[in-house]
């Protein structure tokens, strides 16, 4: 088991191996993202019954919740990749951490925008400075901070290091986001989905949401893979295997 793990680690740290493996994955990922998004959105927009309190505005949930979940997962993944880089100096981990930041920020922005738009008909306001919304806005600024500090450093390596440290410090914000709706009074409704309790949602509403969550995570994987492949091409541009690729 341990041997297998170290073997996988060394493989993953090889940019060429990652590039070739993910090259085979990309078409499958694209197909899975498209199919799951079409199925999820069709069920969510056309077949899920309207909410008895919120009417049809609740259909925003099918992008809002997946985007908000992903923005937090992506942040954790970015911090873990940063830690791997700091501890073992694995370059691939630094590149992955770097490319996650703009993608995670995009999903965080989607969650904030759709949340604000959903808030207007539901709460009567676009924005309140309560714990959930503020901690989510902080997440967006953490992403921006990680992106900025990377560019601000003199060398690329120093940029990766500083970005990883900031990402790790910012991890404290993640449990704050999660528990903000329980610790403080808020307009935001509590979690729709929990791992421990039976879902309170009707299955016709729940299924599209679950499909959209899967679709969003697959889409994120696709975007991170595409961006990481570009990082690899750039950093390995003087290696023989990339030269061969360029000539073909």
């Amino acid at each position: 088991m341990w041997q297998w793990l170290t073997q996988q680690y060394h493989r993953m740290s090889s940019p060429k191996w990652f590039y070739e493996l993910t090259g085979r994955w990309v078409p499958w990922l694209v197909a899975m993202v498209v199919i799951s998004a079409v199925v999820g959105l069709t069920l969510g927009l056309l077949f899920a019954p309207a909410d008895y309190q919120q009417g049809d505005s609740f259909r925003i949930i099918y992008i809002h919740v997946p985007a908000a979940l992903l923005a937090q997962s992506a942040y954790l993944m970015m911090a873990i990749s940063g830690a791997v880089f700091l501890i073992w100096r694995m370059k691939m981990a630094a590149w992955v951490a770097k490319v996650i930041a703009p993608v995670g920020a995009s999903f965080c922005l989607i969650a904030l925008l759709t949340g604000a738009i959903w808030g207007k008909p539901t709460w009567g306001t676009w924005w309140v400075w309560d714990a959930r919304l503020t901690s989510m806005l902080l997440l967006l600024f953490l992403y921006f901070g990680v992106m900025a500090i990377q560019q601000a450093m003199e060398s690329e390596d120093a940029g990766h290091k500083a970005a990883a440290i900031l990402a790790l410090v910012g991890v404290v914000n993640i449990p704050i986001i999660k528990y903000s709706v329980e610790w403080w009074n808020t307009l935001h409704q509590p979690a729709t989905l929990t791992l421990t309790e039976k879902p309170s949602m009707h299955p016709d509403m729940l299924w599209p949401l679950l499909i959209m969550i899967v679709s969003t995570y697959l889409f994120f994987a696709l975007l991170v893979i595409l961006r990481t492949r570009n990082e690899i091409l750039w950093h390995e541009r003087k290696r023989q295997w990339v030269k061969k690729l360029l000539e073909s």
Partner: protein
């Protein structure tokens, strides 16, 4: 199917503006995220292939 007609679907109860604004903005951000890595790859491949050809030419003349 929850909606009897296309106009009902677009109206989304009285919430059409909010629903479609949300989905529209999301589609825009998603499209940008798809386009950026594809464009970067195309430029990268072109530039590096050019550099490689230049270097080869240079090596053969000196």
């Amino acid at each position: 199917m929850e909606f009897a007609s296309l106009s009902e679907f677009i109206a989304m109860g009285k919430h059409g503006l909010y629903v479609w604004l949300s989905y529209g903005l999301t589609a825009l951000i998603v499209a940008i995220n798809v386009a950026l890595p594809l464009l970067r790859r195309r430029r990268l491949m072109k530039e590096q292939a050019q550099r490689l050809r230049r270097e080869k030419r240079h090596a053969s003349t000196t």
